[in-house]
Assembly symmetry: C2
Homo-oligomer: 155 residues x 2
């Protein structure tokens, strides 16, 4: 009952974590961390060691690319769970997701341009007053409350 090669899981397809790290450029600890977040779900050997499938390489690629685009791991997780049955994203899925990401980026660019324009109108006014300043008092109040980092900028 083993004659056809189809669907047989050869050991060559079971990738240990170190090789995953080498092939993705991630650290071993980061990969374990992603598993903890539920972003990848490797199988285990009888001795409890992780073994990844080749589709996990694709999943990790997706994570890394989406991160470059400014998504948080939480958002990436959400995006991947949007897919039917938690499936690894295909080219078709990617088109849908990346279009959504594009909109985000556009939005953030627009936001920064508004800020730049406000600043332009403000350079030289020197008001430096919270009551009057157009930068500090924009129409949109987005004062995020609660603990945690406020504004960490990339670059």
């Amino acid at each position: 009952m083993q004659r056809s090669m189809a669907k047989t899981l050869s050991s060559r397809d079971l990738i240990p974590i170190g090789e995953m790290a080498r092939r993705t450029g991630l650290s071993v600890s980061a990969i374990r961390f992603y598993e903890g977040k539920g972003l990848i779900e490797p199988v285990r050997t009888s001795g409890n060691q992780r073994r990844f499938l080749r589709s996990d390489l694709r999943r990790v690629s997706f994570i890394l690319i989406a991160q470059q685009l400014g998504l948080t791991l939480g958002e990436i997780d959400e995006a991947m769970r949007t897919l039917p049955h938690g499936r690894t994203p295909t080219a078709r899925d990617w088109r849908v997701i990346s279009a959504a990401i594009r909109d985000r980026i556009e939005g953030r660019i627009a936001e920064m341009e508004r800020m730049r324009d406000r600043l332009d109108g403000c350079i030289g006014c020197g008001c430096l007053s919270l009551e009057k300043c157009a930068i500090y008092n924009p129409d949109d109040q987005l004062s995020s409350k609660g603990p945690g980092p406020r504004t960490v900028l990339v670059g």
Copy 2:
């Protein structure tokens, strides 16, 4: 020797922390935190309570505005120490500092536009491969190493 009103520090100019909070919209704890960072230096009463000068209101305004513009507290501190004798920024100082900030913002906008363009070229290709992806393999490698948050986005 007290006849002229000049330079006499009336108690009306000594603002307790609660009033500072009310007037700036900050929390009391945030104001204490800023003091810890060296951004403001209130005087103390005989009973060790903080008393702020009116110029501290201006200093705090500066901090809040600069934060809206995406500077970290460290950068703000640096900017204020750039000024002669740690002086509270005036309108003139503001012009110099805000011009520098403008350049930063421009740079970040440009960076995001490059990313958007890369994404445009990539939507639909569905390569999702780390070896080939133009998003994941841009010319500029800015993989920040070390602990701490990686990329927290505002908004």
